[in-house]
């Protein structure tokens, strides 16, 4: 699935990933392929991105994530 992490200052990450962990307001959750559509707000925490090459971590300060048809868009205020 395709992931984009966007902040107002720049696009932090864009590419194919196999899974992503996000710190949702009502609890951490993981998004895998074919996840159901979801919109969730985020709290400050770490976003863990698993790609073919390895694992990448991003510190985010609040934000919102939208998952729709294998496209994950994560808007963070800073990352």
């Amino acid at each position: 699935m395709y992931l984009e992490i966007i902040t107002p200052d720049k696009k932090v990450f864009a590419g194919e990933v196999s899974s992503v962990h996000v710190p949702g307001t009502s609890g951490q959750f993981q998004v895998l392929n074919n996840h159901a559509p979801i919109i969730s707000t985020l709290i400050n925490g770490k976003v863990k991105v698993k790609t073919g090459e390895g694992v990448q971590m991003f510190d985010v300060k609040g934000g919102v994530v939208e998952v729709l048809k294998n496209k994950v868009i994560l808007l963070a205020e800073s990352a």
Partner: protein, 293 residues
């Protein structure tokens, strides 16, 4: 005819002025490119945020979404004016100040007379101008341009939102130069608070989203974000416009200096020729006089 030395000095001074304006033009062009990049980079965030807000707003009633959307009777107004810290940018800053003065003189005339309109200056040019009128001056944020980042702008937006929520202001407007291209800027007066709720577009297909924690919560959290983004966009636009305006102004100044130089050179050469002609005449006359002896 002006004497030779005078003209030579003026040519030298115009020349050095031209070099300065040329350098400023080039610096402004480089900065303009960077400023434009920033706008392009923040655009995806703004459009995605709007999209998500619309998706959420489709099925939930956003009109009652919190204090920031609530329209109150307007008794106190805050106007955020975005200018630059530096001058020499043509009519860039005076256009903004004129627009604000027009607002004060027309739309908010009675409120302004009662002292219920405040100006928050962003940029030294606005703070220099409005700090002379302490009745309407609410402070400045000139330091924002030192390190233009979302975090800094977000802090200002949060401060303003807190004041709005506390009832210090009933309406917040932002006045800025919208960037069209390097030569064209439009002065915009935008309402920042209360926010105009996003209109839910019916044409889009409704997706069965899971909302966490709840639709209302998400809307409540996203609205302040969109306010921050709006202010950030205004300031980025203003920043790009500033460099664009300066580039155009300096380009014109360079051209004008070129024209002036051309005229001065002509004048100089004429004066030089006149001097030479005069000298030759003197020599010939001297020789004539000697021959006659």
């Amino acid at each position: 005819m002006a004497n030779l030395k005078e003209v030579r000095l003026r040519i030298a001074s115009v020349n050095s002025t031209q070099q300065i304006t040329k350098a400023m033009k080039m610096v402004a062009a480089a900065k303009l490119r960077r400023a434009q990049d920033r706008i392009t980079q923040m655009r995806p965030y703004a459009s995605k945020l709007k999209e998500i807000l619309q998706n959420v707003a489709q099925s939930v009633d956003t009109s009652g979404s919190g204090v920031f959307a609530k329209v109150r009777p307007v008794n106190k107004v805050l106007i955020i004016t975005c200018t630059s810290n530096r001058g020499l940018a043509g009519a860039f800053n005076s256009n903004i100040i004129r627009a604000v003065n027009r607002l004060l003189a027309n739309r908010y005339k009675s409120l302004a007379n009662e002292g219920n309109v405040k100006i928050l200056a962003i940029g030294k040019k606005a703070s220099d101008f409005f700090s002379k009128k302490p009745a309407i001056y609410a402070g400045h944020h000139n330091e924002i341009y030192n390190n233009l980042e979302f975090a800094g702008v977000a802090a200002i937006a949060e401060e303003v939102m807190a004041q709005f929520a506390a009832g210090e202001y009933d309406e917040v407007h932002v006045v800025y130069n919208q960037f069209k291209n390097a030569a064209v800027q439009h002065v915009m007066v935008e309402q920042m608070l209360p926010i105009t709720p996003p209109e839910s577009t019916e044409s889009k297909q409704v997706n069965d989203y899971i909302f966490e924690p709840s639709q209302e919560q998400i809307v409540l959290e996203l609205i302040p974000k969109s306010v921050k983004v709006q202010l950030y966009k205004a300031i980025l636009d203003s920043n790009a416009s500033e460099h664009g305006a300066r580039m155009t102004a300096m380009s014109k100044a360079t051209d004008n200096a070129g024209d002036l130089l051309k005229d001065l050179r002509l004048q100089y050469n004429k004066a030089r020729q006149a001097a030479i002609t005069g000298e030759i005449l003197e020599i010939v006359a001297g020789a004539e006089a000697l021959k006659g002896k």
